[in-house]
């Protein structure tokens, strides 16, 4: 067996396949919800024709299923695949299955509660909007399951280190541990918010909730959540993409530095989502803004390193001139369909990245705050590089672990391009509309886009139309993907399942620096904890000192409290 293959147990293979296939069904429901959002906001529909319910219910299941459920499942499934593969050690399958079942039960419970209209609280679940307790319990199970899954990798890794003293940890393993270190730190805050605030309030054990504290705890979690989404995509960019392009990773050390920087800077940034909130002093918001600029640095390092890796691949194929390498990459090779998902994501991220810097630029946030610019921006990140890398990764994983040949490869290869065209159109409509004042979250179809309303804004209509056109093209791209995905899942296996060995396109480094200072997570975790304590202690103090009273629970369809 070569270094680039590994034989997983039957149980491990089935687990990875289940963790990919079931969330894919939920993802498609969420994507359908996304299409309906554009139709609601344009005033084309007033209620969901299939699922029933109003705009806010659709917005909730679109956000929760796509941004929280699908992403968490993929990160766990990818970790369950790439960590054992890289360390050449099998998972403890019993623990991995327990984790997977916790996540599945939690997600299905949360999804059902949303779909029956008992948790119309959007993906941020801000109080005073109140959900059924089962929604919060479902999310808790999803998070706890992901903790158990990642804890299951630790003994394998420690054993590997003992057996491979002095060796560098494989870059993919560094990346996946970084992902879950950030996730673990971030989810501690949301665990406090759910277990000590939202759940007892939802159960009626306490009457009122401190809205500002809940929002602050949410954003302690909510922004690092973005890096939890991005980091597995970064693992694919660093570890797979250079090889898929036919080259090598320009610098192994750059990848390790980037992952350690994410550990340090991912968390003390959340207050930049609360620039317009009362209760928090401006100097602490500015501090979080500065850290947000710091966390942009690893993405800029990544932009250069991956460009250099792709340039190297282009040079090997005989490219000339400064930009000739861009023309030598395998954009439309159906046998190399995975590359299309990664390159489209990177192109989108150019636009997503600058949007994020603008959002974090304190006073400039006033131009875009709570406008359609914001979903225009985050669709260029979570629905761009993250979504596309995860879709490509899901198809790759399911084919490998079920021992199938990917079917309809041309569709699989074209899908990310179709999706990208739609996404760029939709985000352009949202961003320009946002700059004109179009609000986010609000059902514009019932007001600003309704000619019968006194709020009607005729000059917004072309941009709302662009979101419908773009959203519809994105939906077509996803349908192409889903057809290829499920045709692959239900196709005949290449051979007996137990004979199958798994392989990943692991890139060789061009420069394999020793980077001894980047081999241990511990100092970076300690620095991260210090920064979190320094940046969040005054914020929490301010929030607790504020004189705002607690809030009774509300639903989105009435200004009267629920009790």
């Amino acid at each position: 067996m070569s270094d680039y293959t590994f034989r997983f147990s039957k149980s491990e293979k089935r687990l990875v396949a289940v963790l990919i296939i079931i969330p894919m069904v939920l993802l498609f429901i969420g994507v359908y919800g996304g299409l309906m959002q554009t139709l609601f906001r344009a005033g084309i529909i007033q209620s969901d024709p299939f699922v029933g319910g109003d705009y806010y219910k659709g917005l909730t299941f679109h956000g929760v299923l796509n941004a929280i459920v699908f992403t968490t499942f993929f990160a766990v499934a990818f970790g369950n695949a790439i960590i054992p593969y890289s360390l050449k050690k099998n998972l403890n399958a019993t623990i991995a299955w327990i984790a997977g079942i916790l996540m599945l039960v939690g997600s299905v419970v949360a999804a059902i509660v949303i779909l029956i209209g008992e948790a119309t609280v959007l993906y941020t679940f801000y109080p005073p909007l109140k959900a059924h307790p089962l929604f919060y319990i479902g999310l808790t199970l999803l998070v706890v399951g992901s903790w158990v899954a990642s804890a299951n990798w630790v003994p394998m890794y420690l054993q590997w280190r003992k057996e491979n003293e002095g060796k560098k940890t494989p870059l993919a393993v560094v990346g996946m541990f970084t992902t879950f270190i950030v996730w673990f730190i971030a989810t501690l805050a949301v665990a406090v918010e759910i277990l000590f605030m939202l759940l007892p309030w939802s159960l009626g054990w306490i009457d009122e909730i401190n809205v500002m504290l809940a929002r602050t705890l949410f954003w302690f979690f909510g922004h690092p959540l973005v890096y939890f989404w991005l980091l597995p995509a970064y693992v694919m960019y660093y570890v797979f993409m250079p090889k898929l392009a036919g080259g090598k990773l320009y610098s192994d050390m750059a990848g390790r530095l980037v992952f350690m920087m994410f550990i340090v800077f991912s968390v003390p940034v959340g207050t930049h989502h609360q620039y317009m909130d009362p209760a928090i002093s401006s100097q602490w918001k500015l501090l979080h803004g500065i850290f947000t600029f710091a966390v942009a640095l690893p993405s800029l390092i990544t932009a250069f390193t991956i460009a250099a890796s792709l340039e190297y691949a282009g040079k090997l194929k005989g490219s000339k001139g400064l930009f000739g390498w861009m023309g030598k990459l395998p954009y439309f090779k159906k046998e190399n369909w995975f590359f299309a998902y990664l390159i489209t994501g990177l192109i989108i991220f150019i636009f997503g990245g600058i949007g994020g810097i603008i959002n974090a630029s304190y006073q400039m946030n006033t131009v875009v705050h709570n406008t359609a610019w914001v979903p225009g921006h985050f669709h260029l990140t979570v629905a761009g590089p993250v979504m596309l890398a995860f879709l490509g990764g899901s198809l790759y994983l399911v084919a490998q672990f079920l021992n199938k040949e990917v079917r309809l490869k041309a569709w699989a290869m074209l899908s990310p391009y179709v999706y990208t065209i739609g996404l760029l159109i939709m985000s352009y409509g949202l961003k320009i509309g946002g700059l004109m004042g179009m609000p986010r979250r609000t059902n514009t179809g019932a007001s600003y886009a309704n000619p019968d309303s006194v709020l009607y804004q005729a000059d917004w209509i072309p941009y709302i139309d662009l979101t419908v056109i773009g959203g519809s093209i994105m939906f077509v791209g996803i349908v192409m993907y889903i057809i290829s995905f499920f045709t692959t899942v239900f196709s005949k296996s290449k051979g007996a399942e137990e004979d199958a060995i798994v392989t990943f396109p692991i890139s060789e480094p061009l420069h394999d620096e020793p980077a001894t200072w980047l081999r241990n997570f511990k100092p970076y975790i300690i620095i991260a904890i210090i920064l979190i304590v320094l940046s969040y202690t005054p914020v929490i103090y301010d929030v607790l000192q504020a004189t705002y009273g607690g809030s009774l629970p509300f639903s989105p369809d009435s200004p009267v409290p629920l009790r």
Partner: protein, 44 residues
């Protein structure tokens, strides 16, 4: 033969294209950022 070519590429490769790409990226980011900044200023 293939290895020789690879080795010589490895020794000589300088990512000039990636440096140029990065500079263009920074210029693009600067233009977009200032577009929004002037939008902020225009709102008074």
């Amino acid at each position: 033969m293939g290895d020789d070519q690879s080795n010589s590429e490895l020794e000589e490769f300088k990512p000039k294209g990636a440096i140029a790409f990065f500079i263009v990226l920074m210029v693009f980011f600067t233009i977009v950022w200032f577009t929004l900044y002037f939008e902020l200023l225009s709102r008074g």
